[in-house]
Amino acid sequence: MNAHYELPLEDAGYSFGFLDEYAKKEVRRCILKAISIPGYQTPYASREMPMGRGFGTGGLQLTLSLIGEDDTLKVIDQGSDDSVNAVNLRQFVQLTCPGVEVTEKTQEATLIQSRHRIPEKLLTEQQILVLQVPYPDALVVVEPSEARRKVMHGEADYSRLLVKLYEDVVRFHEITISHRYPTRINGHYVIDPSPIPRWDVPRLHQSPALVLLGAGREKKIYAVPPYTLAEPLVFDDIAFRVEDFHDVHGKRIACRCCGSTVSFLDELIDDLGNVTHQCSDSAYCEEMQETISARKQA
């Protein structure tokens, strides 16, 4: 032990984007490879970040490698900008990327990092969506060994996964996968689209925006390039169904704040045990509310 050692206290600063330039370069190279092979899980040396594995380090590394001073960033979790994890990530980016604008309005963002939801509003060719991924591999449910899964993906051999869907239908008369619905990209690789609800899966198909998926702990990056086929796995005679927001009388439930009957809803239980619903996408809900009050005034 060196008794005279003193901590370099003035050394507390970080480079723009927290990661060093070599790390960012590696991530960008990986992104390019992922886009060139749609749906392929590209391995990369995921760096440790100041937030825990499982809290979005994969998505964050994508964002930090892509973001520049002329970007406008939106961060959401469960569809909300105000969710604790989104707040934490957004603050971190603001801390390490001075000059970057942040926004809650979807249409203002150039880069959107999201956990578990795709915004209701259709994205544009000028936008990139980054999704946070816990499990990159749809086959993990039938095969624990990564080495064996790699061969199955290479040969597009998803029969064991399809058998699982078959057994589901036999037992429960429908496919019971709720979120993380296996989706085939560009006709070959089947991905786990991250824990987005089935509601959001159709938004991957022919999307004008680039969708990037980052798994920090599992150390994989994959992509759904713009205007690419994204087809949820189904049987020819069993259609893909999204979540159902109809009440017991068959009436579509509306958001309690803005009245929307076309968005994904969060179910809330208040202190008296009453169940109400409101839009999961908070920015969308606010915009709807503004439109309504503008109309009222007009």
Binding site: M1, A45, E48, Q78, S178, C285
Partner: protein
């Protein structure tokens, strides 16, 4: 009644930070912990954190432990995150642990070994009886303990370094000779693990693995989910001089030293193909700091994984994917903790499925009864 969306995520996070600070500082004493106290008097805790953090910086480890109120997983995590941002200046050449300045050196394989057996500072044979008088330790007596030790220790000529026990096994042909390798070691901080991985990747992953997780895996092998049956040929704890090339002349110079623990286990010989002489097999473990349980566990798993990679795993501790993907403390702790994050959208999706399925089953039942 109109509803307003509740906001307050930022306030909640700020509140959580204030609450943890409060808990750290509200004690009955006026003095905060000093980094020197942690570093000097809790050296084994420091060893654990620098080893799992993968960063040899005892002072920063002390800071991390102080900041995170003693949580070793969080402290190791903080060191890793800090390391993430540091530029790579150079890579050291291979260091020879035979040059270690040992503070402890034992061999279970032989009663006497060249250089001698040195028990050193160990609790192995200590009685785990709580010393209650530590509750009111007199500062003067405390200061005198170290002075007395040095006073009472006679001047002896200690060897500068000790030959490796396994070298004598090699000389007799009981262990295979070392085949020098030109291949660079696999850098787990720069390249992803894609199985099958080389042995250097497995060793590097285990060197910074979480001690408890690694121990559990090794223990499973010791108890019978595997058959390494090891003998510790040598266990060393000591200071390894770090030799780096001079920036101008290129000559190797001692830049400093690091405290490491190294363990070499010898396992039973295995069958060979044809005329090759059978030999013992070797398992190797090494980590930053003084952590013998970790080094021993690592050596046993090294042997188990080599066997698994050669013959196919017959137990989890022999399966490289199973071991290497589950022993990293930062990965495992992060994922365990992430379950506390909001998952209400995915849960909404789950509820939708279950409600539907229940509906369908009810329909089927009522169809059957009509």
């Amino acid at each position: 009644m109109s509803y307003v969306a509740i906001k307050g995520g930022k306030a909640a996070i700020d509140g959580a930070a204030a609450a943890t600070d409060y808990l750290r500082c509200r004690g009955s004493l006026d003095e905060p912990l000093t980094l020197a106290m942690i570093e000097e008097q809790l050296r084994l805790l420091i060893s654990r954190v620098i080893s799992e953090g993968g960063l040899y910086h005892p002072r920063l480890a002390a800071l991390a432990l102080k900041q995170f109120q003693g949580d070793t997983l969080e402290a190791a995590f903080a060191l890793r995150a800090y390391r993430s941002t540091k530029p790579r200046l150079l890579e050291s050449p291979v260091q020879d642990t035979a040059n270690m300045r040992c503070i402890r050196r034992i061999s279970s394989a032989f009663k006497e070994v060249p250089g001698g057996q040195y028990l050193g500072a160990t609790y192995d044979y200590a009685l785990r009886l709580l010393q209650l008088d530590l509750a009111n330790e007199d500062p003067a007596a405390f200061k005198d303990v170290a002075k007395a030790f040095l006073r009472n220790t006679p001047e002896t000529e200690l060897p500068n370094n000790f030959p490796k026990v396994i070298d004598s096994l090699r000389a007799e042909g009981l262990l295979p000779p070392v085949t020098p390798s030109r291949a660079a070691a696999f850098d787990i901080t720069r390249d992803p693990l894609v199985f099958p991985v080389p042995r250097s990747a497995a060793l590097a992953t285990m060197a910074r693995a979480e001690t408890g997780g690694l121990l559990a895996m090794a223990y499973s092998n010791m108890r019978g989910y595997g058959d390494v049956h090891p003998t510790v040929a040598e266990l060393r704890v000591g200071y390894l001089p770090v030799m780096l090339p001079h920036p101008v002349t290129g000559e190797l110079m001692e830049a400093g030293e690091v405290l490491i623990t190294e363990c070499e286990v010898v396992a039973m010989y295995e069958g060979t193909n044809g005329d090759e002489m059978p030999t013992f097999t070797l398992g190797y473990g090494a980590c930053f700091g003084h952590n013998e349980v970790k080094a021993i566990s690592m050596a046993i798993l090294d042997r188990a994984l080599q066997k698994g990679m050669r013959d196919g795993p017959s137990n989890p501790s022999e399966d490289p994917e199973f071991v290497l993907l589950h022993v990293d403390g930062v990965d495992s702790m992060g994922f365990a903790s992430h379950y506390k994050m909001p998952h209400y959208v995915t849960f909404q999706s789950d509820m939708d499925r279950l409600r539907h399925t229940q509906q369908k089953m009810q329909q089927k039942e009522s169809e059957m009864t009509t």
